[in-house]
């Protein structure tokens, strides 16, 4: 049974420590997570996170402290999150795409006191980058760190306690007491998202609300023990964190993911781990069918899910537009519009996103979707409730929708100017600010439609009269400043006089998009 309220008489543990204890007792040897060669059973998740939790306690981390996690998908992320949650600390997952400047900004903006991080990932050297962005940070000096750049940050740890015997541990009884003090009302996680401002927004979710919400979603998608879910959504955003990771812990199921850089590596994992369900953004697997080995791969274990490019033909919809799609957002703790019905729909429901999921009251005001209910975020970090919710408790999503006669919702894009590219949100204001910072040039940033990614980031850069602008150089500088996915894929350099303006003196956005579509 789904429940529209957090409390329900079904015994679902409503805190992460209680949930983990229950799952580890039920199925200690079942696998919780497989990420390439990295495997974590429920029992190991319990033991490893207990060790790290005791180390965090000894390091002065406690209830309400903010612990940032900078890891790609894998057991280190999971153990870090579980350890923090067990002692009532709030996890702050950070995007591995972040540049050093972005990381320092997030650590400062979220008042993080401890950062648990990988040393490197892909092209990023976080140790060197953080040392450069935080002048007082010396990786070899003992904590506490005292830096006005990140005034709350006291410790950066590249090797967590469960693998470094050098950490001091608090007693097991201290951990037990700390776990007992965690309540469903406590904040569990702050997930960052881009919005209409240049600063990323930290979205706060509590233990009880997010766990209940995921239990509801699991019932809708029939995600239960025995199922194996493949999802390559990153754990540092809501889809990976909630719909994949927390959902798996709630279900007592198994999550499979891969960080392999090449398609063949991901396909190897899919063949070996035999997922039954696949979920996430289609863009995350769009490159897999292009691999030469794809036709010979056995993906027959996949029975359902929305990553249609890798779903076997028999389970794939004839026309994806005739399946209910899902709408998710960070503020709603992942999915908020969906349907339990996974079959092909009649033609008149083409493009449906289903209905509001349990606990979500929806209202459409002038074409824009508003939500209210117990599973919405507690709020944005650092903003007062009345800045985010109207007096009656409604939250404006900024998504344009319509509702058909049967009550099914249809999504028509964003009312605001947030760009949605391959599952990531990008704020045009943030990109414009970065261009100004690295080049001194004024730019207008918009999203331009793109088949594979939904939208791509595009920038019209104003060149002072007669000046030449080196676009490649601009891109290279931007990559040092902002995450790769925020760097404009299309850049048009236009003399001031050629910038499309309307007679009102405002920018002509339609003409701007036309120019950038062709750039």
């Amino acid at each position: 049974m789904t429940s529209p309220t957090i409390d329900a008489p079904d015994g679902l543990p409503l805190t992460v420590p209680a949930l983990l204890a229950a799952r580890a007792a039920e199925r200690p040897d079942d696998v919780l997570l497989v990420c390439d060669g990295d495997r974590l059973t429920y029992g190991e998740a319990d033991r490893r996170s207990a060790l790290l939790a005791r180390a965090l306690l000894a390091a002065g981390v406690g209830h309400g402290s903010r612990v940032a996690l900078l890891y790609p998908n894998g057991s280190d992320f999971v153990v870090g999150w579980l350890a923090a949650a067990r002692i009532g600390a709030i996890s702050v997952p950070l995007s591995t795409f972040s540049t050093s400047a972005e990381l320092a900004g997030l650590l400062r903006g979220a008042d993080v006191s401890v950062l648990l991080a990988a040393e490197t990932y892909r092209s990023h050297d976080y140790r060197a980058g953080l040392a450069a962005a935080i002048p007082e940070f010396d990786p070899d000096a003992p904590p506490p760190l005292w830096s006005p750049v990140v005034p709350s940050l006291r410790r950066i740890a590249f090797t967590a306690a469960d693998r470094d015997p050098g950490w001091t541990l608090a007693g097991a009884e201290s951990l037990a007491a700390a776990e007992a003090a965690v309540t469903p009302a406590d904040r569990m996680v702050i997930v960052h998202t881009s919005g209409s401002t240049s600063e990323p927004k930290g979205v706060i979710h509590t233990h009880g609300a997010l766990i209940r919400h995921l239990d509801n979603l699991n019932q809708m998608r029939r995600y239960a023990p025995g199922e194996v879910l493949f999802s390559n959504s990153p754990f540092f955003w809501i889809g990976g964190f909630a719909y994949a990771l927390l959902g798996t812990l709630v279900a007592g199921a198994r999550l499979v993911c891969s960080n392999a850089a090449d398609a063949a590596g991901v396909l190897d994992v899919l063949e070996r781990e035999r997922p039954t369900m696949v979920n996430g953004f289609a863009a995350s697997v769009a490159h897999l069918p292009q691999d030469p080995s794809f036709p010979t791969r056995d993906l027959s274990s996949i029975r359902r899910g929305n990553l249609y490019p890798i779903v076997p033909a028999a389970a794939r919809p004839a026309d994806p537009e005739l399946r209910h799609a899902m709408l998710g957002m960070t503020e709603a703790g992942s999915v908020c519009l969906a349907s339990e019905d996974e079959s092909d729909q009649p033609e008149h429901r083409r493009g449906s996103f289903g209905r509001p999921v349990p606990g979500f009251e929806a209202e459409v005001r002038e074409g824009v979707l508003w939500f209210r209910g117990p599973f919405l975020m507690e709020g944005y970090d650092g903003r007062e409730r009345h800045e985010t919710f109207d007096p009656d408790g409604w939250f404006c999503t900024g998504d344009l929708v319509s509702v058909d006669r049967e009550g099914f919702f249809h999504f028509h894009g964003r009312a605001g100017d947030t760009i949605k590219t391959a599952g990531a949100n990008v704020s045009p204001r943030e990109v414009e600010a970065a261009i100004l910072e690295v080049s001194g040039l004024t730019a207008h940033v918009v999203g331009v439609e793109d088949e594979a990614r939904g939208q791509v980031v595009a920038a019209l850069v104003r060149a002072p009269d007669g000046a030449a602008v080196d676009v490649d150089d601009l891109r290279a500088r931007l990559k040092d400043r902002i995450s790769d996915y925020k760097v404009p894929r299309r850049i048009a350099v236009v003399p001031d006089a050629k910038v499309p303006m309307m007679s009102s003196g405002k920018l002509d956005l339609r003409a701007l998009r036309e120019m950038l579509r062709d750039a």
């Binding site: 005292w146 006005p148 469903p184 406590d186 117990p374 409730r385």
Partner: protein, 480 residues
């Protein structure tokens, strides 16, 4: 009024700049100007940071009103730590429950036994905070990070049953709520406000300490008011607003030294008993500023120095800007708005607020056609003893936990806590035992103790007859 800033560090900086030589607080022979308060709290903040206090960390403070209390509180608040003021009246089991509920990590208190409190990292005596200090630049950077949305304080208020009720206020909410009451109360620059209410409750912390900080006024207070000393303080400091307890005002007026005391500086917003007869308002003519911990002090009222319009005497006045008031179906006063508390420790939002943001106060009342609020009593059986809330169910639970107690019934008897208990234990041992478990103001002072359950009056439906019980207790001599 609208506050000039909505965080404590911003207000402290503003006062230190605008009113450096104005005295912020005068208490028991000590005082501090705003410049001194700013400097002392900044220096102490640097020591708290060095000792491991972080933003969002909960810092408990258990002490009586003093300049030191204000310095310690502002030190924690200016770096974004959350203050947890603790009553000096708490008995050990109550204190432990509050420390656990608020997840206090660092406690400043004298003589606390911290055994069995694993969340507590350090317990310091008020004069025992370690001397090592963090760099000034770090402290300033932490101050710059404090936002109106950040938690300011966890204030405990009596709850009917279950765990203690820790009410969480943000900087923005608490400061706006306090500012909304300043004009009606007449608290402005140059005023010297006497508030003896303890800083560990809203009355002292909000309407005393924060009110004067926001207004740039001077707070006169005392750890333990005593009539002769209080009169001396009021004269010496030329108090302009006396907002002590009504009983206290009567006591002062009856004191032999009152006749010769020069209280000519007192403004009309003061309690009437201390004003010369010709300026004394008629009973009920001045509004009853009405509020609660959840609203961080009064949320409605009218000017205290002016009589209410005819027909409005005895009312609470109209809601302050920023707080909406409505009357629910059962006659309960409900409030909502951006100045209210953020939540209650350990309670999920839907169990505290309605979906559309209303909080049920537990107070009965009505709003008249002109928008004046009239208080009509509590809807539960909570009652006030000298301004402090007592929940009979909490006292009954404490009594029932004692060995040999078979029944316990608690009710108000003429401003006192009355208890009827069925037990074979001796009444004296009962009173002593319950004082170990409850704050002194909650401990019964009127007793009816019997070994015979048949002597407890019940109604026809078998429920305890509280009216008959009250009569029974009123007839008893204390301690029988």
């Amino acid at each position: 009024m609208t506050p000039e800033a909505e965080t404590i560090p911003a207000l402290l900086a503003l006062r230190a700049k605008a009113d450096p030589d104005v005295r912020a607080i005068v208490a028991d022979g000590e005082s501090a100007t705003y410049a001194e308060l700013d400097a002392a709290s900044a220096a102490l903040a640097a020591r708290l940071v060095a000792a491991g206090v972080v933003k969002g960390g909960r810092v408990g403070l258990q002490a009586r009103n003093s300049v030191e209390w204000a310095v310690t509180a502002y030190a924690a608040l200016r770096i974004g730590a959350v203050l947890v003021p603790l009553s000096t009246l708490l008995r050990p089991p109550e204190l432990h429950a509050q420390l656990a509920t608020a997840n206090v990590s660092h406690l400043v208190a004298d003589g606390v036994d911290a055994a069995g409190l694993p969340s507590l990292r350090a317990v310091w005596r008020t004069d025992g905070i370690p001397e090592a200090a963090a760099p000034e630049a770090l402290v300033q950077a932490m101050e710059a990070r404090v936002r109106p949305a950040d938690d300011l304080v966890v204030l405990f208020t009596s709850g009917s049953t279950g765990p203690p009720k820790g009410v969480i206020h943000t900087h923005g909410g608490a400061i706006r709520a306090t500012a909304a009451g300043l004009d009606p109360r007449g608290v402005g620059p140059g005023e010297r406000l006497y508030v003896p209410m303890p800083f560990f409750w809203t009355g002292g912390f909000g309407t005393g300490l924060l009110a004067t900080l926001i207004a740039g006024a001077t707070l006169l207070t005392e750890a333990a008011p005593e009539p002769a000393r209080t009169l001396d303080l009021l004269q010496r400091e030329r108090v302009t607003l006396f907002r002590g307890w009504p009983d206290q005002a009567k006591q002062l007026a009856a004191h032999p030294a009152f006749a010769t005391a020069d209280l000519s500086s007192l403004g009309d917003g003061s309690l009437g008993d201390l004003l010369p007869p010709e300026r004394r308002p008629a009973p009920g003519a001045r509004p009853n500023l009405f509020g609660m911990t959840e609203t961080f002090g009064p949320y409605c009222g009218e000017r205290l120095d002016t009589d209410l319009p005819p027909g409005k005497h005895g009312s609470c006045g109209r809601p302050f800007p920023g707080t909406e008031v409505r009357i629910g179906d059962t006659g309960e006063i409900e409030v909502r708005g951006p100045n209210l508390f953020r939540g209650i420790c350990g309670r999920m939002r839907p169990s505290v607020f309605s979906a559309d943001g209303w909080y049920r106060t537990g107070d009965g009342g009505r709003l008249d056609v002109d928008g004046y609020l009239w208080f009509e009593g509590r809807l539960d059986d909570m009652f006030k003893v000298k301004g402090a809330s007592v929940y009979p169910s909490e006292v009954e639970a404490a009594l029932r936990a004692l060995d040999g107690v078979r029944q316990a019934h608690v009710t108000e008897v003429a401003g006192e806590v009355g208890a009827a208990v069925v037990t074979d234990a001796a009444p004296d041992s009962l009173a002593a035992a319950v004082r170990q478990r409850l704050s002194s103001f909650k401990a019964p002072t009127r007793w009816f103790v019997t070994a015979d359950p048949g002597r407890i009056p019940v109604t026809a439906t078998g429920k305890v007859d509280k009216a008959a019980l009250r009569a029974l207790l009123a007839a008893e001599e204390e301690g029988t």
